[in-house]
Subunit: 346 residues, 2 copies
């Protein structure tokens, strides 16, 4: 492609890749039998969330939409590389200086395409992390359903046959279901937070690295343009022989070095907080810590050993009541322990 130089010949890993090794190649890059998006995108978008448990539907849709976005980003990367090649091809027929500079510009633009392609791989890591929240959401749904189903059944029996011995059996079942549900909801809460943070850290780090690198390439592109002699000639006048080959090569080399040595600790675009934001964020954090010290719940619950047998059944807890737990967990919160209620008999 590029007649004189390509940044992509047997390249050693960049400093940034050594610092944080690149992720495996994006999962969107294989199995593309429906061509360049279009039909595939529409299908994915519409089908997402049509199956699977309620709780995970919105997130399933998000995951599918991200896949579409990634495919489109890949398309941009590919088309940018094609554009770079065509620019070189056009330049070949021009005068020496225009030809050399457009060829080198082609190298830089091809490099931007490569950077975009690498960004897609890192974006996929974000998407996979979001997917793991979807999975935990999907796995929590059955335990919510089970609890709800038993609660409904007890209510129905109490109305139709208040003395049925099955009520006792069902109430014991409910106690077990609630214990399971408490664990599931805590897992959901913990994993959602952990993964949301991890996923967006990943996305934003990748975005920042990608953006700064593209800005670096654009800067070197402007240096290349200086090599074109744009003083107008009069008809019949000949331009002087071009002697910028070494200079253009050196600029590309500088650009390559700058990209190779980029590490996130050297990132120069700062997003600093205003005094107001800093104060508010600090207040939020210190409130969190204060609350945590004030209401220490760590002694109240034993750490979860991974199996639910190490747990007390919910009915043996001091303030246990089934009440409208169904409602409060539907809102995504666990209020069972906070309210003062009458204990029920088993």
């Amino acid at each position: 492609m590029h007649r004189t130089y390509s940044m992509r010949q047997s390249r050693a890993p960049t400093a940034s890749q050594v610092e944080s090794p690149p992720p495996p190649i994006s999962t969107t890059k294989s199995g593309r039998w429906l061509g360049k998006g279009g039909i595939g995108h529409a299908f994915r978008k519409n089908a997402a969330g049509a199956f699977g448990p309620d709780l995970a539907k919105k997130l399933s849709q998000l995951v599918k939409m991200e896949k579409n976005a990634m495919r489109s980003m890949e398309l941009v990367a590919r088309e940018r590389m094609e554009v770079a090649q065509q620019l070189s091809i056009w330049g070949e027929a021009c005068d020496e200086d225009v030809s050399d500079v457009t060829d080198k510009l082609g190298v830089l633009i091809y490099e931007i395409g490569e950077l975009e392609d690498m960004f897609v791989d890192r974006y996929d890591q974000y998407r996979v992390t979001i997917k793991s929240i979807r999975n935990i959401e999907a796995s929590v749904q059955p335990s919510r359903d089970r609890k709800q189903k038993i609660t409904d059944e007890i209510a129905k029996l109490k109305y139709k046959d208040p003395n049925s011995p099955r009520i006792v059996v069902l109430e014991q079942e409910l106690v077990r279901a609630e214990a399971e549900s408490l664990v599931a909801e805590a897992q959901l809460s913990n994993i959602t937070r952990e993964k949301v943070k991890a996923a967006f850290q990943y996305q934003f780090d990748a975005l920042r690295e990608h953006s700064e690198k593209v800005a670096i390439v654009a800067g070197y592109g402007k240096h290349l343009l200086d090599l074109i002699d744009d003083t107008p000639v009069t008809p019949g006048e000949t331009r002087h022989a071009y002697d910028g080959y070494d200079a253009s090569k050196a600029i590309i080399q500088d650009c390559e070095d700058a990209l190779t040595n980029w590490v996130s600790s050297k990132a120069v675009v700062k997003s600093s907080l205003s005094q107001r934001s800093r104060t508010l964020s600090q207040r939020h954090r210190s409130n969190l810590n204060k609350n945590r010290e004030g209401v220490d719940l760590s002694g109240q619950d034993q750490p979860l050993a991974g199996d639910r047998d190490s747990w007390l059944p919910a009915d043996q807890h001091p303030n246990y009541e089934d009440g409208d737990d169904g409602v409060s967990t539907i809102e995504g919160e666990l209020r069972g322990r906070e309210e003062e209620r009458e204990p029920i008999t088993v």
Copy 2:
């Protein structure tokens, strides 16, 4: 969409827009009757360069490929905005802190989509500038063709009927055609250089602004993530009430301010040249200037007044000869004046 805040409500122009007003909306954004690319892309790519004069074919193809690339970038922008909305929708059902933060993350990601959309408009300016080179290339072709045709005709006549009086007429015609061609080639050389520089200045400036802004947004995104309380809770434990609404709003406000105030003179990503590149570039520039002083051609040709009548016919120039001018201009260079040749008689 975003429940609490959007950056895009009645926004004043940013500092960067005031510095250099935004271009008109991209020409790729209208007349999209073939849907989301795919077929349109393939058609454009294959049809480009199939018509029109030879000289402009490669550049026509480039212009069409850039249109494809722009359409794909638009698609990414649109899909990113959709993703942002879906993220907000999913977050609504989560706990207060996750809900607030994902909503605000949605605002930031939507903003990235908007930035991408604005970038497409500026990229179109680059494309339109490249298109103007294609137009001059296309307009130079007929004058090359005419000169070639007359030269061929004279050669044929000289072989078949060396005493034909038509030869004299044709030779006079050739002289006029060559004068026209000299002007056309000089125009091509001057305009190509001017426009290549302008086009890529535009592209690289747009890229740099876009990249730095995206990096800024990514940085504020990371600040938002700090508001999520990711200390794990044990089953049944309740999280404390969330008090980060003001902090998250202030972070978005900071981000908006940073984007509004960005101007290219404040760009922080530097692409500095190494000593070697700087030396080579300077040598190139000083050579250019030296050559320009050494061989001053400004007295040799009168400035072009816009009509070709103010010009001497080519045959009245001291070293005029038709020779293999056809070949040298096909290579895109004007060598006619440099070589010592025998004058021909009119």
